[in-house]
Subunit: 365 residues, 2 copies
C-alpha cells in the first residue's frame, strides 16, 4: 500500500495507511453519534422510567462494524476534505443501522446481537428486574420497536443537521429517501422469501443486491460523494464499485451465516439454518447438493436439533455451494476495484476504497 503526501492548506500532511484511516474515522464517527444521542436523550428522556431507552440505544451504537459510515466518509473523501460534517453525516447512517438491526432482531426473534443481548432482550430483562406486570417478552419487543423508531427519527435529524452545504444536502436527501424506503421494502421481500416454500434463487439474489448493494455499500458511498459535491462521473464509478462490493459483502454474510465462527460473529452455529433464512448459499446448496433429499427432509422438520444443524452444515459444505460462493466473491471484488480505475479521485480515497472492498469480501464477522 503506497503512502502519499497530502498537501492541504499549504502544510504537508503524511496521509494515513487505509487501516489507520478506518480506525480513526470509526473513532470520530462513534464520538459524533454518542454526542448526538446524548443530546437527544437529555432533550426527550427526562420522564420517569424512560432513561432505559437511552441506555439501550447508547449501548447499541457502541458496537458494530461501522462499515456504512466508513463508506460514506470514503465517498466524501473522493471529492472534498473530511470535516466534522462528514462524521455527523456518517454517524447518521450508524443510527439508521441501529434502527434496522433492532427491528430485525424482533422480527427474527434473535435473542442475541453481536454476542450481547439484542435490544428486545435487554428491554425484556429490564421489565423483569423492575417487577412489571404482563409479558416481559411482549414488552421487550414493543420497547425495541419504539427504540428503533427513535433511531430512525434521530438518524434523519442528524443528517439534516450535519452541517453540509444546503444544496448538496438537498440532493443527498433525495438519495437518503430512496435508501430508507428500499431498506424497509427489502426487509419485506426478505420476510416474503422466508415465507415461501421454494423462493426463487433469482429473487433472493435480487433482494440481497437491493439490500446490501444500496444500503450497505453503494447508498452510503453515493450519499457521501453527493454531500461533498463529487462529479457525476465519480458518483457513477462509485455506483458500479458499490454494486459489486455490496454483492461480495452479502455473499460473505451468507457464508458466515452457515460456516461462521460463533466467537467471531457473535451468532450461534448455523444461525441462518436455524432461522430458516433463504440465503444465497443455502439456495445454492439446495439446488446442487448431492444430498438434496436429506436437506429437504431437514427443511420439513418443525424444529432442528444441534445434531440436525451440524449435519445441515456438512451437507451444505459438501454441496459445492461454499466454493461457488467464494468464487463469486472473488469475481465481484475484482469488478469493484476495476470500476475505480476510470474515476478521478484523491489517491488516498482510492486506497481506502480498495482496502474497504477487501474487508467486505474477506471477513470473519
Amino acid at each position: 500500500m503506497t503512502i502519499r503526501c497530502d498537501v492541504r492548506a499549504g502544510a504537508a500532511v503524511l496521509a494515513e495507511d487505509p487501516a489507520q484511516w478506518c480506525e480513526r474515522v470509526r473513532g470520530e464517527v462513534e464520538r459524533a453519534v454518542r454526542e448526538f444521542v446524548a443530546a437527544r436523550c437529555r432533550e426527550h428522556l427526562g420522564a420517569d422510567g424512560t432513561a432505559v431507552l437511552g441506555e439501550v440505544i447508547t449501548e447499541f451504537v457502541r458496537g458494530g462494524k461501522y462499515l456504512r459510515s466508513a463508506f460514506l466518509a470514503a465517498g466524501w473523501s473522493t471529492a472534498a476534505p473530511e470535516t466534522g460534517a462528514t462524521h455527523r453525516a456518517a454517524g447518521s447512517l450508524e443510527l439508521l443501522h441501529c434502527f434496522a438491526l433492532m427491528q430485525d432482531d424482533v422480527m427474527d426473534e434473535s435473542p442475541l446481537r453481536r454476542g450481547a443481548p439484542a435490544a428486545h432482550t435487554a428491554f425484556a430483562r429490564w421489565h423483569a428486574r423492575q417487577g412489571l406486570s404482563g409479558s416481559a417478552r411482549r414488552f421487550g419487543e414493543s420497547a425495541a420497536i419504539l427504540a428503533a423508531d427513535l433511531c430512525l427519527v434521530w438518524a434523519e435529524q442528524m443528517l439534516r443537521e450535519c452541517g453540509a452545504d444546503p444544496g448538496a444536502l438537498a440532493r443527498a436527501s433525495r438519495r437518503y429517501d430512496v435508501l430508507r424506503s428500499e431498506l424497509a421494502v427489502g426487509q419485506f421481500r426478505d420476510l416474503l422469501n422466508e415465507s415461501r416454500r421454494r423462493p426463487a434463487l433469482a429473487e433472493v439474489l435480487a433482494v440481497a443486491r437491493a439490500k446490501s448493494g444500496n444500503y450497505t455499500v453503494r447508498g452510503p458511498l453515493e450519499l457521501g460523494a453527493e454531500l461533498a459535491g463529487a462529479s457525476p462521473g465519480v458518483i457513477a464509478a462509485l455506483g458500479r464499485y458499490g454494486t459489486a462490493i455490496g454483492e461480495a459483502f452479502q455473499l460473505r454474510d451468507d457464508l458466515l451465516g452457515v460456516f461462521g465462527d460463533p466467537a467471531a460473529t457473535g451468532k450461534p452455529v448455523g444461525d441462518d439454518i436455524r432461522a430458516r433464512k433463504a440465503t444465497s448459499v443455502l439456495l445454492l446448496a439446495r439446488e446442487h447438493a448431492p444430498a438434496r433429499r436429506e436437506l429437504r427432509r431437514l427443511d420439513a422438520r418443525t424444529t432442528l436439533s444441534d445434531n440436525d444443524i451440524e449435519r445441515y452444515v456438512d451437507i451444505v459444505a459438501e454441496s459445492g455451494a461454499r466454493v461457488r460462493a467464494e468464487r463469486l466473491i472473488d469475481q465481484r471484488l475484482g469488478e469493484g476495484v476495476e470500476a475505480l480505475t476510470a474515476a478521478e479521485m484523491a489517491p488516498e480515497a482510492r486506497a481506502v476504497l480498495v482496502h474497504l472492498a477487501r474487508s467486505c469480501a474477506d471477513r470473519a464477522r
Copy 2:
C-alpha cells in the same frame, strides 16, 4: 357561526362556514396524501409481491378523522393563505399518524381499526390467502411494522418536499423532530404505565398531555403556524389553546374507550377495559368508585368475560368518574377558546379553531 367576507388579492371571497372548511380541507389533504403515496408506490414497490404494502397503506390513509391535518391547516391559516403546500404539509401528518396507528395496533394486539381489519390483520389474511408458510400472525405483525416504517419515512419526505419557504421549513423541521421523538417516547411511557400494577394518576395524565397535547393538537397547530411564518405571539397563543384542547381531546378519548358506541368508534364495548389500559377515566374510577373493591377483583382476573366488562362499565359510570371527566372537558374547552382572544389572526381562522375545539371535546368517535 358568523360568516365573514375575506378580502384577498383585491377580490371579495365569501368565507366558508367552519364545517365546510373542514370538509373541503379534508378532501384536499386526502388527495395530496393519495397522490404522494401513489408516487412512492410506483417508485419503490415494483418488485414481485410488494404491491400489498401499497394496498394496505393506501387503504389505511383513506380512513380516520384527519384531525391533525385540520389543525396544521388551521394553524397555517392564522398567518397566510392556504396553498397546495398547506395540504402537502398537512398530509404528512396523516402519514405520520398512519405510522403510529399501525404500530400501536401491533403492540396492543388490536385486530380492528376503525371497524376494519388493522394493518397487521390485513397482512396476516394476505399471508393465508397466498398460501405462505410459517405463522400468519407473526408475518402480519412484521409486515405492519415495515409498512409503518414506510409511512414514517414518507411522512418526513412529504413535509420536506411540501413547497413551503425554506427558512420556515427549517424552523418547522425542528418542531417536527420534537413531535416525532415525543410520539415514540409517549408510546413507551404508555407501555410502561400499562405494565405497572398501580400507575400514578399524575403520570398517566402527564403522558396523555404529552401525547395528545403535543402530537394531536398543539404540535400540528404550531407546525402549521411556523410554516406559514406566524408571529411568536400567535404561536404562543396557539400553544396555550393546543394544550387545553389536547387534554379535552384525550379525556373524551378515554370516555369513549369505556362508554363509546361500537358502531361509532369502530371498537368493541369497553375496549380500554379489555386492553387493561390505564386511562384517566379508569384511574378516576379506581380512586373514587364506591365499589372499588369489586373493580380491583375484576382487575385481578386474567381474562374478562362480556358480563365482566358490562359490570365494569356500570361501576365506572356509578363512580362519578364520567361526570368528573365531562366537567374537566368543559373546563379545558373554555380555557382553549379563551386563549385565542389575545392573538391577532384572520377571523376565519379563529372560527375554524373554535369549531375544531368543539369537535375534539364533544365527539362520538
